[in-house]
């Protein structure tokens, strides 16, 4: 996603604590995760290994684990911990209860 403008993706409460949901933004699919410490992370929604839906994966405060073959990626850097290509990470934050994607 090259956009520099902010996109409001709706209330943070759309995402349960500790889970992820997929959003379509400008033709891209982006998985937004709401960590148990309430912070947000945004990464590409598609696992580069075999196309798994990353938003269905389990997370902790550092990684997301793809539900298909359990490869893990760092949510902050997008780096794989298990020898796979990296995934994209996007700037995301919460403002007044809403998810704001972009710089």
């Amino acid at each position: 996603m090259k956009t520099t403008s902010l996109v409001n993706l709706g209330p943070v409460t759309d995402i349960p604590l500790g889970e992820g949901r997929t959003y379509a933004v400008d033709g891209d699919m982006i998985a937004i995760f709401r960590l148990r410490d309430s912070s947000l992370r945004a990464v590409s929604a598609i696992c580069p290994h075999k196309g798994g839906p990353l938003a269905d994966g389990q997370i902790d405060n550092a990684v997301v684990v793809c539900p298909l073959h359990l490869f893990a990626w760092d949510l902050a850097t997008g780096c794989s911990q298990s020898g796979q290509p990296p995934i994209n990470v996007y700037p995301v934050r919460e403002d007044d209860g809403h998810i704001l994607l972009g710089d």
């Binding site: 949901r21 699919m29 196309g51 269905d56 389990q58 405060n61 539900p67 298990s82």
Partner: protein, 817 residues
Amino acid sequence: MTQKLVVIGNGMAGARTVEEILARHGDFSVTMFGDEPYGNYNRIMLSNLLAGVETEEGIFLNDLAWYRDNGITLNAGVKIERIDAAARIVHDSNGGATPYDKLIIATGSYSWTPPMKNVHNPKRGYHQGVFAFRTLDDTRGMIRYARDHERAVVIGGGLLGLEAARGLQNHVSHVTLLHAMGHLMERQLDPKAGQMLQASVEGKLGINVITNAMTSEILGKDKVTGVKLADGTVIECDVVVIAAGIRPNTEMVANSGLPVERGIVVDDQMRVQGHEDVYSVGECAQHRGSLYGLVAPLWDQAKVLADHITGTSGVAYTGSKLHTKLKVAGIDVASMGLIAPEHDEDEVIVYNEPKKGVYKQLIIRNDVLVGATLVGDNSKAASLIQHFDRGTALPEERSSLIFDIGGAVEESPEDMPDDAQVCNCNGVSKGAICGVVAGGCGTVSGVMDKTRAGKGCGTCKPLVQRIVEWANGGAAEEDPAASWYVPGVPMPKSELMASIRKYRLTSVSSVFAKLAPGGEDAKSKMGLASLLKMMWGADYVDERDARFINDRVHANIQRDGTFSVVPQMKGGVTTPAQLRKIAEVAEKYDVPMVKLTGGQRIDLLGVPKEKLPAMWADLDMPSGYAYAKSFRTVKTCVGSDFCRFGVGDSTALGIALEERYQGLEGPGKMKLAVSGCPRNCAESYVKDLGVVAIDGGRWEIYVGGAAGAHIRKGDLLTTVGSAEEVIRLTGRFLQYYRENANWLERTYAFVPRIGVDRIREIVVDDTDGIAAALDAAVEEAVQSYQDPWKERAEPATPGQFRTSLPLIVLPQVPVRS
């Protein structure tokens, strides 16, 4: 405040200890003294250097840059002459005095020379042509000299002597090995094994071996011409290598007034007795009366010392159980514990095949392995070392300890090509595994995480372990997490359950907060959720993020991110009305594939997540549990209703079992079956729990069977006289499994681990008096069952059934017409 740490000795122990301290971010300015003018190298590899299979660069552990990069002052080639412990100063051979706050003595050993005439030249030290085999300089000198000579004699038939003899064959045409004792490697091998080894060394390698050979004199004036034995025998040679043993380097320490017996006396924190700030580690240290000359104990000692010196309290080194597993001069040898029985009751098992040079001996005491010797075949060494180290119960079939009975022959990692595929599920090659090990990851679980090898069906795990061990040069690093229930909480299951009860932790997040040093861990969530649900029942606080996606949406995720819907079909029995409804739903929702499962149900595949609630509503049937680590199905045959051979009503019993235990969660899937006669059409012998009707109105119960990634015939638990007893014992066994199995440990691993006899005592005979408690616990779980598909009208979380699939088209599951 930064303390001054001085280390005397720059060998494997000294440098390793400093590495461990650096890894713990110890706040020290480090000064090291080493006799030898180098960085530190792997002394064990000197044999390989001599044999020409390793280069000098290849044996260095830390080169000089490492010292520089870590701010360590290295005084190479500088000898410490005296320790002034009262003033906390060490004095060196250059006249320097170096003060310290903490001192580590790691002076190691020197090569011992047995008394014999003419071994030393008064002007030159050793006689020209006579070498010790201890240092890099020794080895260099030996290679340089041997190159121009023909016949070598090695004095000493221990490990080092054998390696020296083998290595010298690379440089001279004739090697004789002299050993003062009755058989080779007498410290590790019994006489029989020693003789087998000798036969192999002579026959396969062409090295002459003479035992009971006391060397009394080195012959030759200016250069060596031979050696003379005590019995008068003269052996002509022009090179002599002395590898008769090592002695700890303690003279300087003793002269400095520190306590030295056989070695430098240390306590369990590796502190030198009576000296708060002086430590000793490695071959020169004497701990609880023992000296160690192997690498593994040294690593253990270095870790304890590093922990202690950097402020971790409560750490202690309690000694090491010694085992070796190696190729001695190209021949497999493994040895651990006793080399001969000590008591009349000791069980001794011996296998001997002289022609092949294979010898195996086990010594067992009170059902625990206390000694083992292997020559010529090390394939079972790894599992024997585990039994020896951990004192685990041995299989009743003792022969399985030394042979692979009926199983496939274990592949040797050494013989495999680099591109050989090891993990057939995730496509991981031997080369990929070795690469990760070379990159510094030495534990089996670490390698599995990094490569995902062994993370599919799991059948290749033993091979992965062997490759990691091989790539590590013999032994995988010990993985502290191996016994933990989940990777993020450092506790085995029983301890974890006790802590959960003690602090009354009813949610996964509370377990992380209280018991996990690293906080939340994604890979531990599912196992903890399962455990807590089992322990707390209705009091469990269900956090949905702790569930795997399958358990969040009660369906099985497929390769394209869609799900499969499997309605319950108890005992494989259905009705025309049910079939009609399933057909209608399949048509209405354009289900791309309708398939019968291996567990006798109908699978509707390729269903998008968002359609799941509507489909469940239209079906209006209970969930068939084709997902989750839980009780799955009870497969049945027709049984006595229609079958000519049936002797019991397997269908009715299967339905009764499925009705009662549906949805029961556990550490792994539970697949059951009931067969109406021993023809076994429902494949009950290979189920987690299988029931077989036999003539006379009785039922056999088998447990621990498998026919998936692993294949195992279940063990006969017991035979009972009624269906009610089958149902009761099934619940009791499943509850015992739920409470005691490790996470993801299926019954095919659990039952052999505990032993079917022990399980029978608990579950059938109630010798432990817990049967009533098991019955009550499983009854409570049964009563709290709720069909998860009822969770369709009101989603448990926002967007529970919203798609996570991308808009782009992915590879689709092929649709067959």
